[in-house]
C-alpha cells in the first residue's frame, strides 16, 4: 500500500490535534473542579437550616415561661394572689397558643400540668417606705420553716450602713444569714466601702470575702435570688452567687444597727414569718406541659414556672 500521507505534512496535522486535545483536557479538568466546588457549596446551603425547628421549639418554651410568669406576677401584684385565677388564665391561654402556631404550620399545645401552688408575699416596710431593721433587736428571724423562696430582695439606704472592710464586716456590719435544717449557715454582710455598697460572704463563721459591689446612688437593692445589685440608673450582675447553696430553711437578719430599708420575698406556703412582717397570700409557681410538633420534630416538656427563683 502506498504511503499516501507522504504527500502531505502529516506530522503538522498530528501536532495541531494534540494541542487542541490538551486544551480540551485542561478545560474539562477546570470544569470538573468548578462543578465539584458548586456541588459542595450547594450541599452546604441546602443543609444550613436543618436545626431551625429546634430553635422554634425552644422559642415557644421561652415565650410560654415568660407569659405564665407574667400572669403569676400580675396576680400577685394585685394583692391576695389566688392560684385558681392563674389556673384559669393558663387554661384560657392554651387555645390561643394553638391558633398562633397553626398559622405557622406547626402544632403547639400549652396545658396546665397541675394546679398552681400557693405562697406568701412577705414584706418588711412602713407603708411602702423604709423601716428600721432593729425593731426586734440586733438579731431576728425574718422567716423560718422555709421550703422554697424567690424574689428575695433587700433595699437599703447606704448611708445607714457601717463603713468597714470585707474581712472585718462580720464584727459589726448588718448581715443576712441563711440557715438550713442542720444549722449550717451562710451569711452575707452588707457594708459601705467608700462610695460603694459591698456584699461579703462568710460560711459557718469563717472570714468573710467580698462577693460583689456597686457604686451606690441613693437606695440600693440587693437581689439575693437574682444575684444582682441595683441603684439609681445602674445595675450589676454578680458573678459570685448571692444565694447560698445550702437550701436555707430560715432567713435571719444579724448585727442589725441603724440600718433602714425594705425587704421582700415570695415564699412557698408553709413558711412562717416572724413578728410584724406583712404577710399576703400569693401564687408561688405554676407547672405547664408544652408540646411542639412540626413535620420533622416532636418536642415535649414540662416546665415549672416560678419567676425569680434562684438558679
Amino acid at each position: 500500500m502506498a504511503d499516501v500521507r507522504a504527500w502531505f505534512d502529516g506530522d503538522s496535522d498530528r501536532g495541531q490535534l494534540l494541542l487542541v486535545t490538551a486544551l480540551a483536557l485542561a478545560v474539562m479538568l477546570v470544569t470538573v473542579a468548578l462543578l465539584l466546588n458548586t456541588a459542595i457549596f450547594t450541599e452546604n446551603v441546602a443543609t444550613r437550616d436543618t436545626t431551625a425547628d429546634g430553635s422554634e421549639a425552644i422559642e415557644l418554651r421561652g415565650e410560654a415561661v415568660a407569659a405564665v410568669g407574667e400572669l403569676i406576677e400580675t396576680e400577685n401584684r394585685a394583692g391576695d394572689g389566688n392560684p385558681e385565677n392563674v389556673d384559669d388564665a393558663i387554661d384560657a391561654m392554651g387555645p390561643l397558643v394553638d391558633r398562633e402556631r397553626a398559622r405557622h404550620g406547626t402544632v403547639a399545645t400549652l396545658n396546665r400540668s397541675r394546679s398552681a401552688t400557693s405562697g406568701q408575699l412577705l414584706r418588711w416596710n412602713d407603708s411602702g417606705n423604709p423601716r428600721a431593721f432593729d425593731e426586734y433587736g440586733t438579731s431576728w428571724t425574718f422567716v423560718e420553716s422555709l421550703d422554697n423562696a424567690r424574689g428575695f430582695r433587700v433595699a437599703i439606704d447606704p448611708s445607714t450602713l457601717i463603713e468597714t472592710t470585707a474581712a472585718s464586716s462580720d464584727t459589726n456590719a448588718m448581715g443576712v444569714r441563711f440557715l438550713n435544717s442542720t444549722t449550717d449557715n451562710v451569711t452575707y454582710y452588707l457594708y459601705e466601702d467608700g462610695t460603694t455598697l459591698s456584699v461579703a460572704k462568710a460560711v459557718d463563721g469563717g472570714t468573710p470575702t467580698r462577693q460583689c459591689s456597686i457604686e451606690h446612688d441613693g437606695t440600693t437593692t440587693v437581689e439575693f435570688t437574682a444575684s444582682q445589685l441595683s441603684t439609681t440608673g445602674a445595675a450589676t450582675d454578680c458573678f459570685r452567687e448571692l444565694w447560698p447553696p445550702n437550701s436555707p430553711a430560715e432567713i435571719r437578719f444579724v448585727n442589725v444597727g441603724d440600718e433602714k430599708g425594705t425587704a421582700e420575698a415570695t415564699v412557698e406556703s408553709g413558711a412562717t414569718p416572724i413578728g410584724d412582717v406583712d404577710d399576703d397570700s400569693a401564687v408561688y409557681s405554676a407547672t405547664v406541659d408544652i408540646t411542639y410538633q412540626s413535620q420533622d420534630l416532636l418536642f415535649e416538656t414540662t416546665v415549672r414556672v416560678a419567676p425569680g427563683e434562684p438558679r
Binding site: 499516501v4 500521507r5 504527500w7 502531505f8 502529516g10 496535522d13 495541531q16 490535534l17 487542541v20 486535545t21 486544551l23 480540551a24 478545560v27 474539562m28 477546570v30 470544569t31 468548578l34 457549596f41 446551603v45 415565650e63 415568660a66 407569659a67 407574667e70 400572669l71 400580675t74 396576680e75 401584684r77 394585685a78 385565677n85 392563674v86 384559669d88 388564665a89 384560657a92 391561654m93 387555645p95 390561643l96 397558643v97 391558633r99 398562633e100 398559622r103
Partner: protein, 209 residues
Amino acid sequence: MRRTQTVDDTDRGQAHTVEAFIAALLLVSGLLFAMQATAVTPLSASTSNQHIENQQRALTGDLLSTAAEDGTLQEAVLYWNASRGAFQDSPDQGYYTDSGSQNTFLSRLNDTLAERRIAYNVRLRVHNTTGTPSRRTVSMVGMGRPSDNAVTASRMITLPDSAMLTGSDSRSLSTVASKPNESFYAPDADPANELLYNRVEVRVTTWRM
C-alpha cells in the same frame, strides 16, 4: 490524487470536531465567568443576598428579644391613645408612617435599622374571639410595601387585664374595654377571665432600601 485527498479530510474532520467541542466549552465557561462577575446588589436574588436576609432576621429577632426582656416591647404595644383609637402621637392614619423615636422600642428600631438604610413595617396580630375565633392585624409602623427580599421576625407577648396604657390615657385595658367611647385595637380574648386579656404577636418586616 483523489484517494489521498480523502485521507486528509478524515484527519481534518476529527480536529474540527474537537475544536467545536473546545469552542463550546470556551463559550460556556465564558458565560459562567461573566455570570459570576456580575455585580450583586442588595436587592438581587443570590446566595450573598440570602446571607444579608439571615443577618437582618437575626438582628430583628435579637432586637425583639431584648425589648421583650426589658419590658420596652410591652410599653410600645400599649403606647395607645384610647380616646382617639390610634397609636399615641401617630398621624391621621392611626399608625406611624416613618421611623421615629416615640417610645424606647421605636427609638431602638430607628437607631438599629433606619440608620442602616433598612426599612421596616411593624404589625401586631391579636386574637379576636368574638364569634368565630380569628386573628386581627393592626399596623404600628408602615414604611411601605416590602421588597421581594424582605424578612420577618416575630415575638409573642401576653397582656394581662390590668396592663396600663403607656400613652396619655393612663388606664388599664379592662377599664378601656368597659368604656363605650374608648377603644383598644385588641379585644379581651377571654372576658370571663380577670387575668388574661390577649396575646399580641409583634411582627417586624425588614428590607433594604
